[in-house]
């Protein structure tokens, strides 16, 4: 009995050693993958914010048709799985003659999906501003643009921050889907290393740890930022 336990302990120790060794060996690839994941996150975020802004402008604007289109867009795109959008951007568009590199197909798909979410977050941020605020500003004689810039948007932004940062955390995790269309992101590297070493457990664990570390880092930064913005205003 005791011998068995001892042997198991030895094996576990060797296992830990070899895992660390493997991790050391593959870390450069993982970090290269992380860089791709971050680039993807950044580009998709820019696209999503731009699209979200356009959507909220269209939805709150005076042109009925545009408002209807924007509403329809939001309803549809946030209801479709990101993976479907990704395959559409990569395979279906290619079929129609628009061949996007995997990275850019990822940017388009993630941007299209998160743009719908951001459009909705921005709209509810704007709606959360008390109508009395607009009235008080208008009563001072401020122009519509100034009312927006100095009174409505600063308050809407505060309401937008929590869902907005939450969306960003999800976006980072969703970038891992681009593995399926061969983009060499973090998940792709983990998958490749798992296949090469026959140690999927170890490799996906490392991938998880890298995502986790980055997630924690980013959410801490965003939380601190949010707190700062709030504190500056109380």
């Amino acid at each position: 009995m005791r011998r068995l336990a001892a042997r198991r302990a030895v094996r576990t120790k060797r296992g830990v050693m070899s895992t660390l060794q493997l991790w050391g060996q593959y870390l450069p690839q993982f970090l290269a993958g992380l860089v791709v994941s971050l680039q993807l996150t950044g580009a998709a975020l820019v696209l999503a914010l731009a699209l979200g802004t356009l959507l909220v402008l269209a939805r709150t604007g005076r042109i009925r048709v545009l408002a209807a289109i924007a509403t329809g867009y939001v309803e549809v795109f946030r209801a479709v799985p990101v993976l479907v959008l990704l395959f559409t951007a990569y395979y279906s568009l290619a079929q129609m003659g628009l061949r996007l590199p995997g990275f850019w197909a990822g940017v388009v798909a993630l941007g299209a999906f998160y743009g719908a979410l951001y459009g909705e977050d921005m709209r509810s941020g704007l709606q959360s501003v008390d109508p009395g605020q607009r009235e008080a500003a208008v009563a001072l004689g401020l122009s519509n643009g100034t009312v927006m810039r100095r009174v409505v948007l600063p308050q809407a932004f505060l309401a937008f921050l929590p869902p907005g940062t939450n969306e960003l955390s999800n976006l980072i995790k969703d970038t891992s889907l681009v593995l399926t269309i061969g983009v060499t992101d973090l998940m792709f590297q983990a998958n490749a290393a798992a296949a090469a070493t026959f140690q999927p457990m170890d490799m996906f664990l490392l991938a998880g740890l890298v995502y986790f570390a980055f997630y924690i880092l980013l959410s801490r930064i965003l939380a601190r930022w949010e707190l700062n913005v709030q504190r500056r205003r109380s």
Partner: protein, 281 residues
């Protein structure tokens, strides 16, 4: 029409959809005149006062404010006209509506800086002077949520005054305040009146109206039922409708059965309610 008429309202009519809130209201307000608008809840007092700076478009009639004309129905006034009117007509709201992301000082500085391109330093000096005049110099850096209701309303009044308005509108400026804070805000308004500011205020503070207002306008059932010198209207109302309203408001204890429609009387909103409660018990 005399040239010292600052606000001239002719045949004002306002509808929300098919519902007519009031019809054919006319009122002239002279420079330094204090007009109190009173009447039962839902009479259209707020709607009326908000038409004066065009927070509500109206359906017929016209409002002339210092040479700028707002005409009801048809096309809305030009942006330039609206701006001119709103810069000369200050307003304080029942719910204060201070900008929560700006300090008291920031709230008061915003208008002049954004509409008149006043340099920050000058705007700050002026804002500080205004806040000092209402006893809030030491609260200048505080954000609205750290201010009491009474303080918020005084800051809101300063915010409007920073634009150097010719007329100030007040829509029940004290009705959201705890009784102990009503006095400080009324004192501020009384100060404005004594400095010769033209005031139009909707109020349930009958005692205050009697004391400060030159003219009282009683609104009920979608029209002005009585209008005239404050003392005459409040003490010897001639119209049947304003008589019933004033009876309910001034003497809620004598008519507990019908006090439901009437709003709390001036200066003693809480007191009257408690007294009533006591009566019932």
């Amino acid at each position: 029409m005399s040239s010292d008429v600052v606000v001239d309202i002719q045949g004002l009519t306002k509808r929300f959809g098919a519902r007519t809130v009031f019809e054919d209201i006319s009122l002239q307000v002279r420079r330094s005149e204090v007009v109190a608008v009173i009447g039962p809840s839902g009479a259209g007092k707020s709607t009326f006062i908000r038409c004066i700076n065009y927070l509500h478009p109206f359906d017929a009639g016209r409002i002339r404010v210092l040479g700028h004309e707002l005409v009801g129905g048809g096309a809305p006034p030009s942006k330039a006209t609206l701006r001119q009117v709103r810069m000369q007509v200050g307003m304080a709201f029942q719910t204060f509506n201070l900008f929560p992301h700006l300090t008291a000082l920031g709230n008061v500085m915003l208008g002049p800086m954004e509409t008149k391109r006043v340099p920050a330093r000058d705007a700050r000096d002026k804002a500080m002077a205004l806040l000092s005049s209402v006893g809030l110099a030491d609260r200048a850096e505080a954000y609205p949520r750290r201010l009491s209701g009474g303080e918020q309303q005084r800051v809101a009044i300063c915010r409007a005054l920073a634009m150097d308005p010719e007329v100030m509108l007040f829509d029940e400026p004290t009705s959201m305040l705890d009784p102990e804070m009503v006095g400080e805000v009324l004192a501020t308004i009384r100060g404005l009146a004594s400095q010769g500011m033209t005031l139009i205020l909707v109020t349930h503070e009958m005692q205050f109206a009697k004391e400060v207002a030159d003219t009282v306008v009683v609104m009920a059932d979608g029209r002005v039922v009585e209008q005239g010198p404050a003392r005459d209207v409040l003490e010897h109302p001639t119209s049947e409708r304003s008589r019933t309203f004033l009876t309910r408001v001034l003497k809620p204890l004598e008519a507990p059965g019908v006090s439901g429609e009437a709003s709390p009387p001036g200066g003693s909103g809480r007191g009257a309610t408690t007294a009533l409660g006591g009566d019932v018990r």
